[in-house]
């Protein structure tokens, strides 16, 4: 019994990490209807950035966030202004194929720079520390990841609904042309949206790198988890994304508990079931 409860708790906490993967994807889809196929590879890029920062500056991976987050934001802004803005329009093909190409380029760049050897960010004592609650022992790092995920979502929610930037995001999301007429530079707003999305990828990448080992090829897997969390939660809802991440995390840990080979499969199957039963996810944004 405790074992199962443990699996569920671990799954919920893992869901926090998946919500972090998904939040950035959900954000840019909301603002500019862009689905970024390179999203997972950008998370892995962030993990490698942190690795280099840790090696060069000799700091703790969590401190490396101070370097990784701004750097990823800059990458995001430049990427959007120079490349992705040229692909936006009514046709879904260009953004899809350009980000797909980007994904392949990123993967091979990382392979060239860091080889295929698995790497890990060494978090030190925090990795093994745990607190016990009843019979359960909960790792500090997964707990911290979950708390960070909740904070990030609170933060994004606040930016969206309480700041001038958020108003701009919502304006271009509702109607790009009218937003443009009102004096917004949509290219710039989109740039900021991807910058924010990649800032979240930065956080996700560092936490991923501390949790498990990573190599240049794992990006597409992270994209798929992010995507599943977004769809399970319902398009356009950030809290839904957290719920989606938790459903996916629990499905994986419980599936893995039944049979280690079923861990990923169980997650995908729950996703397909949700698609069959509730194709709009659990918390879809109300259409207006």
């Amino acid at each position: 019994m405790t074992e199962w409860l443990n699996a569920i708790v671990q799954g919920v906490l893992l869901g926090g990490l998946y919500a972090l993967f998904a939040a950035g994807l959900s954000l840019i889809f909301g603002v500019m209807r862009l689905v970024n196929i390179a999203h997972g590879d950008l998370i892995v890029l962030a993990a490698y950035m942190a690795l280099t920062t840790v090696m060069v500056m000799g700091v703790h991976p969590l401190l490396a966030l101070l370097v990784v987050i701004p750097l990823m934001s800059i990458v995001g802004y430049i990427l959007q202004r120079l490349l992705l803005n040229q692909t936006l329009g009514n046709d879904i093909l260009p953004p899809l194929l350009v980000t797909f190409g980007l994904s392949v380029i990123l993967q091979n760049m990382l392979l060239e720079a860091y080889t295929a050897d698995p790497q890990k960010l060494n978090g030190g004592a925090i990795e093994t520390a745990s607190v016990s609650a009843g019979n359960l022992s909960i790792g500090i790092l997964p707990l911290l990841t979950f708390v960070i995920a909740v904070l990030v979502i609170v933060c994004l929610q606040w930016i969206f609904y309480n700041t001038a930037l958020g108003r701009q995001f919502r304006a271009v999301s509702d109607n790009q042309d009218i937003a443009q007429l009102m004096g917004l530079n949509k290219g710039h707003v989109f740039g900021l949206a991807l910058a924010l999305s990649l800032a979240v990828c930065g956080i996700a990448g560092v936490l991923l790198g501390m949790r498990t080992s990573f190599d240049p090829s794992i990006g597409s897997g992270r994209l798929i988890f992010a995507f599943e969390a977004v769809i399970i939660g319902g398009l356009g809802s950030l809290w839904g994304t957290l719920a989606g991440g938790i459903v996916l995390g629990v499905a994986q840990t419980v599936g893995g508990k039944i049979n280690p080979g079923w861990q990923l499969l169980a997650g995908h199957i729950v996703f397909l079931l949700v698609l069959a039963v509730r194709p709009r996810g659990f918390f879809p944004r109300v259409e207006h």
């Binding site: 953004p95 190409g101 080979g261 079923w262 995908h268 698609l275």
Partner: protein
């Protein structure tokens, strides 16, 4: 005025004649080509087939899939499963694999057609992952490490090695001709007009009475079946299968997408041009490994932004050419020009 509406032009007639001649020459390849060339040609035909099929889905039916490796791998695994455990002839097993893929693609489609656009693309990827993870669980087929085709089954194709290689070559070129002819005649039929309408404007096509969902489903099922057949042939060449190789997104989808995008999406000629460029690049840059893939990705991005209709799109726009006549064009007949 005396005008007539035709599809063919003098250029297309000439080009088709040259192409037919080329096919005849290629059909005799087992007599003049070496073992390595024969293998390379076979691989080219199979890649071109995959590219044509992906192009039919993405370029005409608007179904952008990044999960076609699901059916390549499925076809490959069916070849191994049906020959080893049902004892049927490899060629029959490959065809049966195609039929089974068609059957399995219907429930898959009803699920993933609920996703739109780019989300559909990632949905197809999830399906491919489910296929990969499921086949990795089947210990009878070697589980995660895969298995080889037993020698007895390989020998059942033909006794001598060179006879097997010719057979494998003919199967590859035969399936390419089959795939290409199927797509060509499909696009020239009424259904092709419906498809072209969907490609150009989905909601307008629906208004005009095209059953968009059904047309897309038909395309998805046919493409899945043919992709599985090509997959069976690919692994008949390789003689060894593993989940990683069978469901590789790079090998069976990324390369195919690059081929179609660079050549020209939504045209019949595009995949041919793209395949030629892809193999030229590969044969010259293959030693560079990762650099080669980066260049390929970069070229695809540049083409997508600067020339969304690909290289063939540039050529055909500039000179108004079509090798495979699909469009109708109005021609004034020679007599009226004089009078």
């Amino acid at each position: 005025m005396n005008t007539r509406v035709t599809r063919s032009s003098r250029f297309s007639n000439g080009a088709l004649a040259v192409l037919a001649l080329l096919v005849v020459v290629l059909l005799t390849a087992p007599w003049w080509a070496g073992r390595a060339e024969l293998r390379l040609f076979g691989e080219i035909y199979l890649y071109l087939s995959l590219a044509c099929l992906w192009n039919l889905m993405a370029g005409y039916a608007g179904l952008v899939s990044v999960g076609q490796q699901a059916y390549v791998g499925f076809g490959g695994y069916m070849l191994f499963a049906l020959t080893i455990y049902a004892g049927i002839h490899p060629v029959a097993a490959i065809i049966a694999g195609g039929l089974l893929a068609a059957a399995i693609s219907i429930p898959v489609a009803t699920l993933i057609f609920r996703l739109n656009g780019a989300y559909f693309a990632i949905g197809t990827w999830v399906v491919a992952e489910v296929f990969r993870l499921s086949f990795a669980q089947v210990s009878a087929l070697g589980g995660g490490s895969g298995s080889s085709l037993p020698v007895a089954i390989v020998k059942s194709l033909a006794d001598s090695r060179s006879a097997r290689e010719s057979l494998s070559y003919y199967l590859a070129i035969g399936s390419l001709i089959l795939v290409f002819a199927a797509i060509y005649f499909l696009l020239r039929s009424n259904r092709g007009i419906a498809l072209t309408a969907i490609r150009d404007n989905e909601s307008a096509a629906a208004e005009l009475g095209v059953n968009v969902w059904r047309t897309k489903l038909e395309i998805y099922v046919v493409t899945s079946a043919l992709t599985a057949i090509i997959g069976g042939l690919i692994f008949l060449q390789k003689l060894r299968i593993s989940p990683e190789a069978a469901f590789s997104v790079n090998d069976w989808t990324a390369f195919v997408i690059f081929i179609v995008v660079i050549g020209g999406i939504g045209t019949l000629e595009g995949p041919i041009i793209g395949t030629i460029i892809f193999f030229l690049l590969r044969e010259t840059l293959a030693d560079f490994g990762t650099t080669y893939l980066m260049i390929l990705g970069l070229v695809a991005i540049i083409v997508m932004i600067k020339a969304p209709k690909g290289l063939w799109g540039l050529i055909s726009q500039r000179y108004d050419l079509e090798i495979f006549p699909l469009r109708y064009r109005v021609q004034q007949s020679a007599t009226t020009e004089q009078g």
